[in-house]
């Protein structure tokens, strides 16, 4: 009630200036706007009826149907295979790059190196997708190599900046005094890294790996253009189904994917909070 009244009060004490009551209402509305569509999708994936608007009864039948669907299982396996491999590669690469860009002071070319690492974020995905397709089609012809490796490589490239961000953030928050102490105690650079830096850095590495995994798992555009025949990932399968019309099975698979993302991002969030 007092909140409501403050809308009409002309007096502007600091608290009111800080609060901007109108902004409070808008923020909650934005939250509803962001979550309502997803909530509808999730709720109706448990609907016994085919309908996505009329609720009849709670049921898991669409989940059972989705899990029994061979196409869904196959594409889920491909998605996991691509995402896991790309995550491992990109996390290792990003960790190395983060060490080089946070330790050893400021040197010439550091800003350029950081800009290059973040480059995939600055280019519209569709441009990256067609450029990669064009390049890979040449490489495929020249080398004669086909297979899922190309798709994994494409994923690794755009996963690197996502893995890099939290690892770099963690490293720049970490004091160099631990590493200096290890060096004083005659630890070799590798020993200092293995026994001091890496354990302290682990939450950042885990956060980076999970973000990379989520980004790879969710990718549509690059995969759509780069993937060869028989390399249908789960999002590509879902896109194909949506084009044909709304099916409750797709709602169930989507809900599973959302659940997975939410779990991983929540974990990442807590990993990153702990460091403070």
């Amino acid at each position: 009630m007092t909140k409501f009244l403050s809308l009409f009060r002309r007096s502007t004490g600091s608290r009111e200036l800080r609060r901007q009551p109108l902004f409070t209402g808008m923020s909650w509305l934005v939250l509803v706007f962001l979550y309502a569509p997803i909530a509808v999708l999730v709720v109706f994936s448990f609907n016994d009826n085919r309908s996505v608007v009329r609720w009849t009864e709670f049921s898991l039948r669409w989940y059972a149907a989705a899990l029994e669907n061979d196409d869904i299982r196959r594409s889920a396996m491909i998605s996991i295979q691509v995402a896991l491999t790309a995550t491992i590669f990109s996390t290792v690469i990003a960790t190395m790059a983060a060490l080089a860009t946070t330790r050893g002071g400021v040197y010439r070319g550091r800003a350029a190196a950081i800009a290059l690492i973040n480059q995939p974020l600055m280019i519209p995905e569709i441009v990256t997708a067609i450029a990669t397709l064009a390049f890979f089609s040449i490489l495929r012809q020249l080398t004669g190599v086909t297979g899922i490796g190309w798709l994994i490589l494409a994923h690794t490239v755009f996963c690197v900046p996502f893995a890099y961000m939290p690892i770099r953030a963690r490293l720049s928050d970490m004091s160099v005094t631990y590493e200096a102490a290890a060096a004083d105690l005659y630890a070799s650079p590798w020993q200092a890294f293995r026994h001091v830096t890496l354990p302290l850095l682990m939450p950042g590495v885990m956060a980076g790996a999970m973000l990379a995994f989520v980004v790879s798992l969710d990718d549509v555009i690059i995969t759509l253009l780069v993937a060869g025949p028989g390399e249908t990932t789960l999002p590509i399968y879902i896109l194909g189904q949506i084009r044909r019309g709304v099916t409750p099975e797709v709602n169930a698979v989507s809900t599973i994917l959302i659940g997975l993302t939410v779990a991983m991002v929540t974990l990442t969030f807590f990993l990153q909070r702990k460091q403070k």
């Binding site: 901007q20 569509p37 860009t101 896109l239």
Partner: protein
């Protein structure tokens, strides 16, 4: 390290300098080793392909997709003109320009929309006590990571003829037959704002995160009105965040593929769909590459403008 040992150490200062130089060399080598994979992978497979796309845009399309290695700037001509199949004359064709115009209009409207919706939220979060901020930040970030395709699909479920919005409006008797919202510019716009709103909120919040709200009090004590406080304190402080947010929304909105594909149907093409189409059933890779590069140029111009807007403020007020 070892090179320091070989230097005859008659002069202590020289050997110290030599040791330092050796250490610096060692550090540089380590750094290079650590950076090589990242720069290599992104340089070769992220940046270099753009030049391949540039080459492709000057070739002729192959019959079954791909390219013929024959030089041609037809792809760029085709962008503005239509070649008559019979007498080879060129006639002005604005269809592709219109698609670019539409995309640009939609992207800019999305940017403004996310700013209007996002600014209050960012401000509101920054003004929360720290323990509540975390909840809000988490709530805004989560959709950002959630699958864009699925989020767009959920939007489709809401706005289609038999969707939730129509059902609700009919239930309260506001309308008696469903509004046709799907496959309109409005639906695409709603989808784009829905997709990219977090990109606007987060940078503006970041610019306000460390802001000392007692400055507002100070302004008020000096008889500044609410609008004056807003204009002279809050707007300058959030300026870098607003610029960053605008760039982060504009770039993906310009290249959007999924949103116009699902919510705009086949008719409401945006640049992203046009490009993808050329590499799919359109079978005109050079034209697709040319369109992608033109898009890239537009993005670069937007980035340069934002950089200038960010630095022009350097020297004081207004």
């Amino acid at each position: 390290m070892s090179s320091a040992v070989h230097i005859p150490s008659t002069d202590a200062a020289t050997s110290l300098r030599a040791a330092q130089a050796a250490r610096a060399r060692q550090a540089r080598r380590t750094r290079l080793f650590l950076l090589a994979p990242a720069l290599g992978v992104i340089g070769v497979f992220g940046l270099f392909p753009l030049s391949i796309a540039l080459v492709y845009s000057f070739l002729e399309p192959g019959t079954y997709g791909g390219v013929e290695w024959v030089f041609s700037y037809d792809a760029y001509v085709q962008f503005l003109f239509e070649r008559d199949i019979f007498d080879d004359t060129l006639a002005f064709n604005s269809a592709y320009l219109q698609i670019f115009g539409r995309s640009f209009g939609l992207a800019v409207t999305t940017m403004i929309g996310t700013l209007i919706l996002g600014f209050p939220v960012a401000y509101f979060i920054a003004a929360r006590p720290p323990e509540q901020r975390n909840f809000w930040l988490f709530a805004i970030t989560l959709p950002f990571w959630t699958n864009l395709l699925i989020r767009t699909y959920s939007m489709l479920l809401i706005v289609r003829d038999e969707g939730f919005v129509n059902l609700m409006l009919m239930k309260i008797g506001f309308i008696d037959k469903p509004l046709e919202m799907l496959y309109t510019d409005g639906a695409v716009l709603a989808g784009l704002i829905y997709s990219y709103l977090p990109f606007m909120i987060l940078p503006i919040y970041a610019s306000l995160e460390k802001f000392d709200f007692s400055l507002l009090e100070a302004g008020h004590d000096l008889y500044a009105s609410r609008t004056q406080v807003f204009r002279h304190i809050i707007v300058p402080i959030t300026r870098p965040g607003i610029i960053a947010g605008c760039v982060l929304v504009l770039i993906p909105a310009l290249g959007a593929y999924i949103t116009p594909e699902l919510l705009g149907g086949g008719k409401k093409l945006m640049i992203g769909n046009l490009i993808a189409l050329q590499f799919g059933s359109g079978r005109n890779w050079p034209f697709g590459a040319a369109a992608a590069l033109i898009l890239m140029a537009v993005v670069l111009i937007a980035l340069l403008i934002s950089l200038r807007a960010g630095s022009s403020k350097e020297g004081g007020h207004d």
